[in-house]
């Protein structure tokens, strides 16, 4: 068991592509860290540098108390689970699990013990004699996990291990991976582009964008306090509503649109307002409110998903798209006008130049 730390790690590929642009991260022993970001943001590259499959252009990777930059993958005391499982097609499941241990010179009896133990935990004991091609996707996934477990490594590295499974199996394996990781207590670094997977698995999330860390934090922290518009729109589904606002006299107004009943002492003359769909509530009739924000929107489409409905609407003349989450039983006419409001503490503000979050402590009062 060991922690992992990355110190200003960079990767520039031979062609000149700068895939990772200086990432620093400290992973504690036993922690489950998820690297999340859109496709091409450098997640795999970063993971593969930790694994030793990619050379490190600059910076330092430490596993335990060893700098591993120059150490072969096999000697880094890590195990990796690949998206396409990468099982050895000509070997039985047993040998797939045992191969790495044999190469390490571990005794036959100990190999057997570890393989059977892993097979028991992963419920693949019945398939030990089969070849991978005779297994379903989910079973192959388990074998791939088994190959990692038997190594009893300091850290597990996962590169989108669930992407090739169907939706139902993905949810099930997600839960199992989480349970397994908690019971083994092995430090894990997990890569995914799926924000839901990231949220549900992680002790801490690392949101990557264009080879740089956008935010690090617990899933709830990242969700509630996104550090930038990028994080705000990437984490959470449906995505946070983002709209431009401008200073208007004492208060603020939506750019080219309705007023907001907000006053605040921000220095900016314009900003971006973020509102999660679930933080907008629909106001019935003329009910008086003392929320700082109230908008009239025109319903354009409704997506009922059962327990709730996502109401797509446009904001007055601005044409700004907005999504509101409503209880599932409520009925909406397309074309009808809704009044929605949000509480003060649910408003997010971002700089319109950098996209970074603007701290609001004490700045905002209802008009």
């Amino acid at each position: 068991m060991a922690g992992i730390s990355l110190n200003n790690v960079r990767k520039t590929y031979a062609g000149g592509v700068s895939a990772v642009k200086g990432v620093s991260l400290d992973i504690e022993d036993g922690e489950f860290i998820v690297l999340v970001g859109p496709s091409g943001c450098g997640k795999s590259t970063l993971l593969r540098m930790v694994a030793g499959l990619e050379t490190i252009t600059d910076g330092e990777v430490t596993i335990g108390d060893r700098v591993v930059n120059k150490i072969e993958p096999a000697d880094r005391d890590i195990a990796m689970v690949f998206q396409n499982y990468a099982l050895y097609p000509h070997m039985s499941v047993y040998n797939n699990l045992a191969y790495g241990l044999k190469n390490r010179g571990i005794g036959k009896a100990e190999i057997d013990r570890r393989v059977r133990e892993a097979a028991r935990i992963l419920e693949i004991a019945d398939y030990l004699d089969r070849k991978p091609r005779a297994l379903s996707g989910g079973q192959r996934q388990r074998v791939a996990m088994g190959r990692a477990i038997v190594r009893e490594p300091a850290a597990f590295l996962f590169d989108e291990p669930l992407s090739n499974l169907d939706a139902k199996l993905r949810v099930q394996m997600r839960i199992e991976i989480k349970k397994l990781q908690k019971s083994l207590g092995t430090t894990s670094l997990y890569v995914t582009h799926d924000q839901l997977e990231a949220m549900t698995l992680a002790d801490r999330l690392v949101v990557l964008n264009g080879g740089q860390v956008e935010q690090i934090g617990t899933p709830i922290d990242v969700y509630e306090n996104p550090a930038s518009t990028f994080v705000a729109s990437f984490i959470g589904s449906p995505a946070m509503n983002l709209m431009e606002i401008e200073r208007s006299g004492e208060g603020w107004a939506l750019s080219r649109g309705e007023g907001l009943s907000l006053t605040c002492s921000l220095n900016e003359t314009s900003a971006i307002l973020g509102l999660r769909p679930e933080d907008l509530h629909i106001i019935e009739g003329d009910g008086a409110i003392n929320d700082p924000l109230m908008l009239s929107v025109v319903v354009t489409a409704v997506e009922p998903v059962g327990a709730e409905s996502y109401v797509h609407a446009t904001l007055g003349e601005t044409g700004q798209e907005i999504i509101v989450r409503a209880p599932g039983k409520q009925h909406f006419e397309v074309g009808s006008v809704l009044k929605v409001a949000a509480k003060k503490e649910k408003l997010h503000f971002f700089s319109s130049e950098t996209g970074k979050a603007i701290a609001l402590e004490g700045n905002l009062q209802p008009a």
């Binding site: 694994a51 096999a74 690949f82 990468a86 000509h90 191969y99 091609r133």
Partner: protein, 280 residues
């Protein structure tokens, strides 16, 4: 649908007959004695002299020096065929392994150099090759027969294409599992390639077995004669008798055809299996 089926079968049957009938004729004729063949021509029926004819061609010493039997030639042919096939597979797998998995300067360039030797078959470079073998004193030896032909652009090309289709993750998983280059090659790449190896083995064995020109140049000592090269040679001497030993000639021809046929039949199931189910 039905008519097309019959038509397909008709074509296949005609093709099969075209290939098989001469072989059957050769075999049947070889079981008659020389006199009756001389009188009645080629035969389509069983002649009853199978054992004595075949024992004669396999064990009676023939040739100029009376030092070579059919069995020695069969053995020489086997050595050439196997040496040729195995040598080519080993060399071309190693070459392809280097080209696909190791970064070395001008790797692609060397691959195309190897590939371009396809434009230079043995017949084109036969004199220089002969010169070299002679200069090295390798005439009349198995190594002289085999080694100069062992490099294979075709084999290298096929293995290269195959190795390129092996997913990178497999290499990476093996690296993490502590398999170095040699272990990876032996434990993973070779087993994965076995259907490819079988296919190339068939092609190369038959090719080596059927070599005529090269053994003719390299072997003057009759004890190194292969079947294909020696058949005519040792029969010419037998023809010293009044009636040509057509039965023995046919028997040798059948013997020369047999091993390639066996190899193809034995490996065929593997070959088809390999083509149908992909292991990657």
């Amino acid at each position: 649908m039905k008519r097309e089926h019959i038509f397909d079968h008709l074509i296949l049957i005609i093709g099969a007959l075209f290939m098989i009938v001469p072989v059957v004729v050769a075999f049947m004729t070889s079981t008659h004695d020389a006199v009756s063949i001389y009188k009645n021509g080629l035969q389509l029926t069983w002649g009853g002299h199978f054992e004595e004819t075949y024992r004669a061609v396999l064990t009676e010493a023939g040739g100029f020096t009376k030092s070579v039997t059919g069995l020695t030639m069969l053995q020489n042919s086997l050595i050439l065929g196997l040496g040729f096939a195995i040598g080519k597979i080993v060399i071309s797998m190693l070459a392809a392994y280097a080209i696909v998995y190791f970064r070395f300067p001008l790797g692609t360039f060397f691959f195309w150099i190897i590939f371009s030797t396809l434009l230079l078959p043995l017949e084109v470079r036969i004199l220089p090759s002969y010169e070299i073998v002679q200069g090295l004193g390798m005439m009349n030896s198995y190594s002289g027969l085999i080694v100069p032909l062992i490099a294979s652009a075709t084999g290298t090309f096929y293995f290269r294409q195959f190795f390129k289709s092996v997913p990178d993750e497999l290499v990476e998983a093996a690296r993490i599992d502590g398999a170095g280059p040699v272990k990876f090659f032996i434990d993973i790449l070779v087993p994965l390639s076995k259907t490819m190896i079988a296919a190339i083995f068939i092609i190369m064995f038959v090719y080596g077995w059927n070599q005529y020109l090269w053994p003719t140049l390299i072997t003057t000592d009759e004890t190194f004669f292969t079947l294909v090269r020696g058949m005519k040679q040792i029969l010419q001497v037998w023809i010293g008798a009044q009636i040509p030993d057509t039965n023995q000639a046919m028997a040798l021809a059948v013997l020369a055809m047999l091993p390639p046929v066996i190899i193809v039949v034995v490996f065929q199931s593997w070959f088809v299996k390999g083509l149908v189910e992909s292991e990657k």
